[in-house]
């Protein structure tokens, strides 16, 4: 069967069981858009290519399947670079197809030409410039294989226009031919035994669970390990939901804005079981002062992560789930673990949890006089309260998506995650504008789930044009803007570290008019200015299932995220909420 390169490309995507492509056509990718008309694959037309990339990420995070995006050459390709970089940092499987100028024009500074494979070299797991239409099925098969195996990540296929129009004889390859690609899977037996011995001897162990738990679908195995051994679990920003927050052994999020107990447990630990986590600077704080007394068992599928930041006592280069299962087997083989040994440690942790929960100053709902808007006085609605109410009023398996900044930290802190893959955010790259498109992608992947985005007003303005996509494609996402009229996290740093000299952080609560924006995009727009309006607004939003909803929550702009470990400081110097500081010095182990 003779096909054009373009037809072969679309057919190859069908062979990979792609159900949706997020994209936007243009000159160089035109030939590939023609067979899309006849393909069963759904195409979602975005308004900006960055949106296509983040939608594909949201889809991938919510479903565990690779996200697919397709854009044209030049600016189309450069616009999706941010999403590629984001996916690379957070190990999200994406397959991005870009158009390219004809092979004869490559290198001539042709219209809409860019060196796409060169530009994306450092932000993809691998990329290809197709030079022969006959290679297309093989490359597509390899692209999906590479994106989804080992440590997942984004890949890119750059297709010159003449390649897309030239003819090839269709085939589907039997397999991949990648002599240099051998992702790890099974753990080394001896390393597992060594880890089990450290577990048996530890008195203050902590499981440091990272995003690798979710990638390797190891949530159940992790729970079994924690319950078998009685070891408490911290879940990093990328791992929220991999272990239920309601579980008695869950300590929640560690790191710069993690809770006191999670941060301090790691500092005081004598053993860290790092499972699919990468000792990110936002978790470790000052590396030389991080968990100084802990021995480390580091499980990672990416060998380069092991020893990159902290040299482990036991290195296990393997798939996280297989390693955890191996560990469970090894521990079980030597009889039931002595959980009683951990009682003093658990008691200490419980005491900290009681002393240092996440907290904030509750606003007084009756104090209507100081409410926002026309009165010109700042709103007193607390962003944390909005998150708490959202959590209380939505199903337990609701998918929560966030952008980057204060709202992201409050969402992670005050939402209670009970299921894996229910938290989608930009962790490593910290991409503002992630939430709206990622929520759309998540809802496309999981139409059965309620999908809420918690966004900041700064983030929202970066990609909110995609609400038009959501309306047009009937994707009923719900967006809660925590509108504090500021680039809030930057403001917080200027408050704390720049003597309250606020430089270029004020955005205005009214410009743009977020309700007007929502309505212009075919969404329902709601505004909430006081605590008592929160619940009715969320309930109303939950009932709308035929279009997107945007709620403009006017929140207290002075609110700050606590606890906080200042950048570069030791985690021992964690700054708790002002109301908890009096007791700070009295804490003992």
């Amino acid at each position: 069967m003779e096909l054009t390169g373009a037809q072969a490309l679309v057919k190859s995507l069908e062979m990979q069981e792609v159900e949706v492509i997020f994209g936007l056509p243009g000159g160089a990718i035109l030939p590939v858009y023609d067979p899309i008309i006849d393909s069963p694959i759904r195409h979602i037309l975005v308004r900006h290519e960055q949106g296509a990339g983040h939608m594909a990420e949201g889809y991938a995070q919510a479903t565990g399947r690779p996200g697919v995006a397709m854009v044209t050459s030049g600016p189309g390709a450069t616009n999706i670079v941010t999403a590629l970089a984001d996916a690379y940092m957070d190990s999200i499987p994406l397959v991005v197809v870009t158009g390219q100028v004809a092979t004869s024009a490559i290198g001539t500074d042709a219209f809409q030409e860019s060196d796409t494979t060169g530009i994306t070299l450092g932000v993809t797991k691998h990329n290809w410039l197709v030079t022969d239409a006959a290679d297309i099925p093989q490359i597509v098969r390899e692209a999906f294989h590479i994106a989804t195996t080992g440590r997942p990540g984004p890949v890119l296929i750059d297709v010159p226009k003449d390649i897309a129009t030239s003819m090839m004889e269709w085939y589907w390859p039997d397999g991949v031919d990648l002599p240099g690609y051998h992702p790890a899977s099974q753990p080394d037996r001896a390393a597992i035994s060594a880890a089990a011995e450290l577990v048996a001897a530890a008195e203050r162990p902590v499981i440091y669970a990272g995003g690798g738990i979710l990638k390797s679908r190891a949530s159940n195995a992790l729970r079994e390990l924690a319950e078998l051994t009685g070891i408490p679990v911290v879940t990093t920003l990328m791992a929220r939901g991999c272990f239920p927050d309601s579980h008695p052994l869950c300590l929640g999020m560690p790191g710069m804005h993690g809770n006191y107990t999670a941060v301090t447990a790691m500092q005081q630990a004598d053993l860290l079981l790092a499972l699919g986590s990468r000792f990110d600077d936002r978790v470790t704080g000052k590396v030389s002062a991080f968990a100084p007394r802990a021995k480390v068992v580091h499980v990672d599928i990416d060998k380069a992560e092991i020893g990159k930041v902290r040299r482990p006592e036991v290195a296990i280069h393997a798939d996280c789930r297989l390693a955890i299962e191996g560990l469970i087997e090894s521990i079980t083989a030597s009889g039931p673990p002595d959980k009683g040994r951990l009682e003093p440690w658990i008691a200490t942790l419980s005491k900290w949890q009681e002393q240092y929960p996440y907290t904030y100053d509750r606003s007084e709902p009756d104090n209507a006089e100081v409410l926002a808007g026309s009165s010109g006085r700042r709103p007193t609605l607390k962003p944390q309260y909005v998150i708490e109410q959202l959590r209380a009023l939505t199903p337990p398996d609701t998918v929560l998506v966030s952008g980057v900044g204060q709202h992201q930290m409050w969402a992670s802190q005050h939402w209670s995650f009970e299921h894996p893959n229910t938290w989608i955010n930009s962790g490593g790259l910290g991409t503002m504008g992630f939430a709206v498109p990622a929520a759309i992608g998540a809802k496309v992947g999981r139409p059965d789930r309620m999908v809420w985005a918690v966004d900041g007003d700064g983030c929202f303005q970066m990609t909110a044009q995609e609400l038009a996509t959501a309306t047009a494609e009937r994707i009923p996402v719900k967006i809660a803007i925590l509108n504090n009229a500021y680039l809030g996290m930057v403001r917080q740093w200027q408050h704390m570290f720049y003597e309250e000299r606020y430089s270029e952080v004020y955005l205005s609560p009214d410009l743009p008019d977020y309700v007007g924006w929502a309505e212009a995009m075919g969404c329902v727009g709601l505004r909430v200015e006081s605590s008592e309006e929160v619940t009715p607004a969320i309930e109303k939003a939950n009932e709308i299932d035929d279009r997107p909803v945007v709620i403009d929550f006017r929140t207290d702009s002075m609110e700050q995220v606590f606890p906080m470990v200042p950048a570069g400081a030791s985690n021992d110097d964690i700054v708790v909420h002002p109301s908890q500081r009096v007791r700070g010095s009295e804490v003992s182990q």
């Binding site: 070299l121 410039l129 240099g180």
Partner: protein
Amino acid sequence: MTQDYRPGGPRHRLLSVLVENKAGVLARVAGLFSRRGYNIFSLAVAPTDNERFSRISIVVDVESSPLEQVVAQLDKLINVVEIGELHPDEAREAELLLVSVTANANERSQVIQLVGVFAGRIVDVGHDAITVMVAGAPELLDDFESLMRPYGIAGIQRTGRIALPKLDSQASSMTTAGIA
């Protein structure tokens, strides 16, 4: 130049990297080094007897990053098939040097004599300069270079080190089984 900076000094480690012979492979390797802040002292690329693969010999400066990390990151490149470290004791190393030396009629015979000692070859002769090619162990070339310097070097180019394991040694990671 201190001893440490010399090829073969403790800061310098030689990696022999077998890569798929595909467009852009060198850019992937070089790009990895630059974005991770690793330093390359020298680099040489050439095809192998199997047209599917090329061999890159890289002398890495391990001051900035541990070799283990460099190797682990290199190994993540899809087109990198195999990485081996070659210890100087277990390898045959060679490098090629081309140098144009300013030498007038009086000095020329001295230079030619030294070229003979180093088993080099004169590849070009001008009125007041000659161009010499010398191949051999990198340390040998260092010596030759320093001997030429007093005469005045008009131009110099070295290829960077290439290496293969000694035939009687069994450098573990250097087997090429399964690749032919």
